[in-house]
Each structure stands twice: as structure tokens, then as C-alpha cells.
């Protein structure tokens, strides 16, 4: 097992797994308790437009994906709350339009994107060192937001109406949460890909929720679970020569299934 760690790309993959886990543990907790899994899935898919824009402008696609995804998150959040358009309609709209724009941008730029597949399905083995620094910075931003707005995010997630009556600017807090989702999506793209991001965001937190009594401990458990499962998935993909993102997601799904069965058994 340890001989695999002598490769630079493996070391990077392990660091990436840690960085990804911090983002998905913290943000995933809010995504699960606030029940915005579908909305977060929509935000994740709009990120593809940002990736395409990177190809078009001949820029690092991850760098263009950051502002693009944040703007999309603000767009979905504003449209589904402030206009007559329902939330699931606006999710569907942004989801498809984001993907369509991504393909359009790539088509205009040259029509050829060699590592397009890795943005869609992820490849944790190809994360360059420079990207790790960027992921680390986004993690720091997420941690800062989560710390400064911990109680407000908790209040808005638990009872938004009451929070509003108490004088909290709930619209601001909600949009901030969606921006955190956008950031975490971009952190995770390289590891598991746009299409699979939502599983990493939702599943560790959903498992953790069954065993915790506070958001803080839920975040902690979700981070640890995500580290174990993504490293486990990485190891299995190395062992059996399988795509890494897919293996990680399937392992997460197995763990979720097991924990659900365990809960059912424990209740009887």
C-alpha cells in the first residue's frame, strides 16, 4: 500500500482527498440539513460553463470556474426566491444552460478539449501541485465563512422564518451559503468531476447526520468519513485499475447504504 505513495501524483492525490474532504464536510452539512441537495446539484452542473469559458479564454478552467459558479449560485438563489419562477424550475434551467454554454464555449474555442473528461468525471490522480494551493485557499475561505456565520447559518437552516423575524438578513445568509456551495463544488471538480460532485457533497454529511447531535460534530464526522472513504476509493481504484472518481462515489454510496441498514437494525 505504501509503495504507491512514492509517486508525486499519488502524494498530490492524497493531499487533494484531504482538501476535498474539508470542503464537502463543512458545506455538505448545511446542504443536507437545509435540504438543498438538488439545488447544489444544479450549481455543480453550471460550473461546466465556467470550465468551457476557461478553454475559450485560454485560461486555467478552474480559475474561470470560480467566479462563474459563484455568479450561477447567486443567480439560482435569487431567481428561485425573488421571482415567481419555482425553485426546481430555476435549478433545471441553470443546470442545462450551464452545461450547454460549456459545450458551446469549447466548440467555439477549438472544439478539442483533451482533459474534458476529467472535469466531468474527475481524476484525482492528475491534480497538479499548483491546483492544490488553489484548493487550499478555497478551503480557507469556506472555513472562514463557516466560522463567522456559524450561528446564523444554523439559525437559517433550522427555522428560516423565525430567523427572519429575529432580524437576521436571511436572504444574505442564504446566498452566502449558496456561494459556499459554489466554492466547494470548484474544490471538488478535479477530484470527482462535475457530474459526481453532488454525491461527495451530500453522502458523507448524510451518513454523519445519523450519529450526531450538533452541526459542528456533524461537520467533523463528515470530514473524517470523507477522508477515509475517498482515500479508500483511491486505494481501490489503484488496486483494480479503475477510474478514481467513480470508485470513490460508489464506495460512498456503499457506506451510506450500510449506515442506513445499520440504523434500521439498531432501531429494531
Amino acid at each position: 500500500m505504501f509503495e504507491m505513495l512514492q509517486y508525486q501524483f499519488m502524494q498530490n492525490a492524497v493531499i487533494a482527498a484531504f482538501l476535498v474532504s474539508i470542503a464537502c464536510g463543512i458545506v455538505g452539512t448545511y446542504v443536507v440539513v437545509k435540504r438543498i441537495v438538488a439545488l447544489s446539484g444544479g450549481i455543480a452542473h453550471t460550473a461546466f460553463g465556467g470550465i468551457g469559458l476557461g478553454y475559450l479564454l485560454n485560461f486555467d478552467p478552474i480559475l474561470t470556474a470560480i467566479p462563474w459558479t459563484i455568479l450561477s449560485a447567486l443567480g439560482i438563489g435569487t431567481i428561485s426566491r425573488e421571482t415567481g419562477i419555482s425553485e426546481d424550475t430555476s435549478i433545471g434551467m441553470f443546470w442545462a444552460v450551464g452545461m450547454a454554454l460549456g459545450i458551446l464555449f469549447i466548440y467555439i474555442s477549438s472544439g478539442y478539449a483533451p482533459d474534458l473528461f476529467s472535469y466531468l468525471f474527475g481524476n484525482i490522480l492528475t491534480v497538479p501541485s499548483g491546483e492544490l494551493v488553489l484548493m487550499g485557499l478555497m478551503d480557507v475561505a469556506i472555513i472562514i465563512f463557516a466560522f463567522f456565520f456559524y450561528k446564523k447559518l444554523e439559525a437559517v437552516s433550522f427555522d428560516e422564518e423565525f430567523a427572519k423575524i429575529s432580524g437576521i438578513n436571511t436572504r444574505f445568509v442564504y446566498l452566502l451559503l449558496l456561494c459556499m456551495v459554489a466554492l466547494s463544488v470548484v474544490v471538488m471538480i478535479k477530484a470527482v468531476g462535475i457530474i459526481l460532485v453532488i454525491a461527495l457533497l451530500a453522502l458523507p454529511a448524510a451518513i454523519a447526520r445519523k450519529y450526531t447531535s450538533s452541526l459542528l460534530s456533524m461537520m467533523g464526522y463528515a470530514i473524517i468519513l470523507s477522508i477515509i472513504l475517498s482515500l479508500g476509493g483511491l486505494y481501490l481504484s489503484y488496486l483494480f485499475d479503475l477510474p478514481s472518481g467513480t470508485t470513490i462515489i460508489l464506495l460512498l454510496a456503499c457506506a451510506f447504504l450500510l449506515s442506513s441498514v445499520q440504523q434500521k437494525v439498531a432501531m429494531n
Binding site: K151, K152, S157, K164
Partner: protein, 251 residues
């Protein structure tokens, strides 16, 4: 007595569907008002207007002499428990502590000693002190109701608004809940939206019968005869502890 809530000719429509028409009422400190009426009669809408969550289409609302958005700092709100996610990972203390706006303005997850002791005090008032560390999923409906009441008390409100607080409680729990409200009303005004006519006649001093129009607003004793007009069907009220019987079909 101090005027707490005042509505003058307030009307409200969702899109073009009128829900409230020309409601005029006033609630004073020390009042325990039961707001009753059939489903769709506008009870919850009335609460939301007082809370400033909805703007009336016509008329004027004042809470402590101010518009609701500014006056609601002194309003404690106890929502229906049915809308809560009971599996939310939070304990009783967490819920109660979130009741005070000043508490949640600061960064981080830890609360100060002073904040904690005021939360314990609120829990003591509602008789839930020993449950402070309990996960909310492990509470009964009546206990959650008390916790939500404690949360509302954290802002030291001058007006308490309760939406269907007792619908899920057994008779004993209802009785002690109303006795608790009876003690609290000395310091504030309380408005309760409810379906429970028996409780209204037994525990509340004032009635507001709402079915689009305000059919009656005043002392409970004289109000009972207006119930039929409110519900638009004959109603038989039977003494203490027995639920009311609705005779014949509703129109």
C-alpha cells in the same frame, strides 16, 4: 393598558384571492386572545401580517406603535411544530439560544456564560430545564412546543404569537401549557391561533373570530354566540374538557 397590536381596516389578498377583509382589532398588555376560525379563514395570515412577513393590501398595522418590521424586535413567535425537521442535529439549548438576535450575531459556535444562563432561565420558566442537553428528536410534541416557547421568551417579548400551539398535545399537557401562558400574560400580550374551541372558552379572556371577516372581537363570554356565524355552521359547546360538536354539514 398599553396598546400592543393595532390593526385598522386591514385587508389582505393572495394574488386576487381575498383572505382578510377590513380587520380592525386591538390587543393590549395582559390580554390572552384566542384567534379562532375555520381553515382558510386567514388566521395564520393575520399572524404573518403582525410579524411583518406579509404586507397588508390595505389598512394600517402597528406593533408597539411602530410598523411591524421595526416593532417585531419585541415580538416572540412560536410556530407550528409540524413544519420542523425533527431530525435536525441540534439540542434543546441550541434551539433556545438561537432565540436572542444578539446571541447569533457573534462568530463561532460557542455561546457565552451569560447567554447560557439566560437560556436556562427561559427553560426553567417553561419547565424544561432538565432537558437542556436533549436532542430535539428525542422530545415529545408537547416538549418541543415548550422549547419553542422558551426560544420565543429569549428576546423578552412584549407580545407572544402562537400558531396552533396545542394541536398535538394530550389534555393534561394542554392544561399545563395554558396555565403557563396564563402566568406569562401578566408581563405581555398573547395571541394564540387555534382550532380548539374548548380551550378558548376555558382559558382565554378574549376572542377574535376570523373567517375572512372579523366576526367578533371581545370578551370570550359574549363571543361564544358568534361562533356559528364564524364557522357558518351550528356549533354546540359542551362544558369543560369535552370537545365541541359540529352539528349538520358545513356549508
Amino acid at each position: 393598558m398599553e396598546e400592543v397590536v393595532e390593526l385598522k381596516k386591514v385587508s389582505f389578498s393572495y394574488d386576487s384571492l381575498p383572505v382578510l377583509r377590513d380587520i380592525t382589532l386591538s390587543v393590549k398588555k395582559g390580554d390572552l386572545v384566542g384567534v379562532i376560525g375555520p381553515n382558510g379563514g386567514g388566521k395564520t395570515t393575520l399572524l404573518k401580517i403582525i410579524l411583518g412577513l406579509l404586507q397588508p393590501t390595505k389598512g394600517k398595522v402597528s406593533v408597539f406603535g411602530k410598523p411591524p418590521e421595526t416593532g417585531r424586535g419585541k415580538v416572540g413567535y412560536v410556530p407550528q411544530i409540524s413544519k420542523f425537521d425533527r431530525e435536525f442535529p441540534i439540542d434543546v439549548m441550541g434551539v433556545v439560544l438561537s432565540g436572542k438576535p444578539g446571541n447569533i450575531a457573534r462568530p463561532g459556535w460557542a455561546y457565552g456564560q451569560e447567554e447560557k444562563s439566560s437560556a436556562i432561565e427561559a427553560l426553567e420558566t417553561v419547565g424544561m430545564k432538565e432537558y437542556a442537553k436533549r436532542q430535539i428528536s428525542k422530545l415529545s410534541g408537547g416538549q418541543i412546543q415548550r422549547v419553542l416557547l422558551a426560544r420565543a421568551l429569549m428576546s423578552e417579548p412584549g407580545l407572544l404569537l402562537l400558531d396552533e400551539p396545542i394541536s398535538s398535545l394530550d389534555p393534561d399537557a394542554q392544561k399545563s401549557f395554558y396555565e403557563l401562558l396564563g402566568r406569562l400574560k401578566e408581563k405581555m400580550a398573547i395571541m394564540i391561533v387555534t382550532h380548539d374551541l374548548t380551550a378558548v372558552t376555558e382559558y382565554m379572556d378574549k376572542l377574535a373570530c376570523l373567517n375572512g371577516n372579523l366576526y367578533y372581537h371581545g370578551k370570550t363570554k359574549e363571543g361564544i354566540k358568534h361562533l356559528e356565524a364564524t364557522y357558518q355552521c351550528p356549533i354546540e359547546l359542551i362544558a369543560h374538557g369535552t370537545p365541541h360538536r359540529v352539528l349538520r354539514r358545513h356549508k
